[in-house]
Symmetry: C2
Subunit: 160 residues, 2 copies
DNA sequence: GGCCCGTCGATAGGCATGCTATATAAATGC
DNA sequence: GCATTTATATAGCATGCCTATCGACGGGCC
């Protein structure tokens, strides 16, 4: 089956949605992903977060510092290893996450609201069928445990 | 009809796709969109590009300068109005655009390739049905001619 | 014609977020 | 107990965006 047309269509849809969210970002994409990871998986160390989000360790250190200043995360220490900094989401961080998700969902719902209902239904069903597999496909590779060196060992892949 | 589930699913799909494209970007999102606009609609002035892409005029000036240094666009002047700078894509710019699109399409096709064919077909059909309307819905609003002031007059909307 | 004002683009300065290279501190191995 | 490895922090730099403001051109009105 030829995937180029759906691939390009999907690409365009993503571009439309991402572009629609113009304006000042309160939280960067990486910040949201990091908070989300901390929310789902509990306290994690800096290096783990860095490799999971695909940024360098210093970048993650700085991101955590910014998030800490804003009260969205807290730092703890690992009783078993004095070097590690265990990062935790605060309630405020969780709230920011929820608010952010809701705004995005509303924006997208606004786009969908203009479409004929059968089309929306077809899209909804197709997404529901496809998402679990894509989650599984992307997830494991992105969260490869890594952390052996100081560097993130990333492929030089174009982003979007 | 309840749009929250499809909206959240779509959001997650976008997040998966955007996050999948980790790594060094050769061209920013705005750069690609600008080149694409120049390719589709021919030479345009800085201000028009800025409002169309939702960035400030100085940002667009700088982006065009960077793109010009890399040979991806060229500047001309409007014979009818000495103030305006008409920006054009070069062949090299078009080539960069094609290469970029192809890499992205391949990446997404790679994701789709893991899915059962009927699911892909359903998604492809749903996308094809939905895209024209969304294009129309998002396009006009984003390219409102504006240009009254120096400032871009943007709403403070969270991006993605 | 000459002046004022609006519009177009450029410049200056600042902030956020990423990077690489390297430093510091704790743990581990001989 | 000192060298090595590992976890994080710091320094310095690049990019891409912003606001504020400047200089240049164009158009209307006297």
């Amino acid at each position: 089956m030829d995937l180029s047309r759906p691939a390009n269509d999907l690409l365009e849809l993503v571009a439309l949605i991402v572009k629609g969210g113009s304006g000042r970002r309160d939280l960067s994409l990486t910040a949201v992903a990091t908070l989300s990871s901390l929310d789902r998986q509990g306290p994690q160390r800096i290096t783990t977060l860095a490799t999971a989000e695909g940024v360098s360790q210093p970048s993650m250190t700085q991101l955590i510092q910014r998030l800490e200043q804003r009260g969205l995360v807290a730092r703890g220490s690992d009783p078993a290893d004095g070097r590690v900094a265990l990062v935790t989401v605060t309630d405020q961080g969780r709230a920011a996450l929820v608010a952010r998700r809701q705004r995005n969902a509303e924006r997208i719902a606004g786009l969908l609201a203009d479409l004929p209902e059968p089309d929306v239904r077809a899209l909804a069903d197709a997404l529901a069928a496809v998402l679990p597999t894509m989650r599984a496909r992307v997830g494991p590779e992105a969260s490869g445990q890594g952390g052996r060196g100081n560097r993130a060992e990333r492929v030089d892949q174009p982003r979007f």
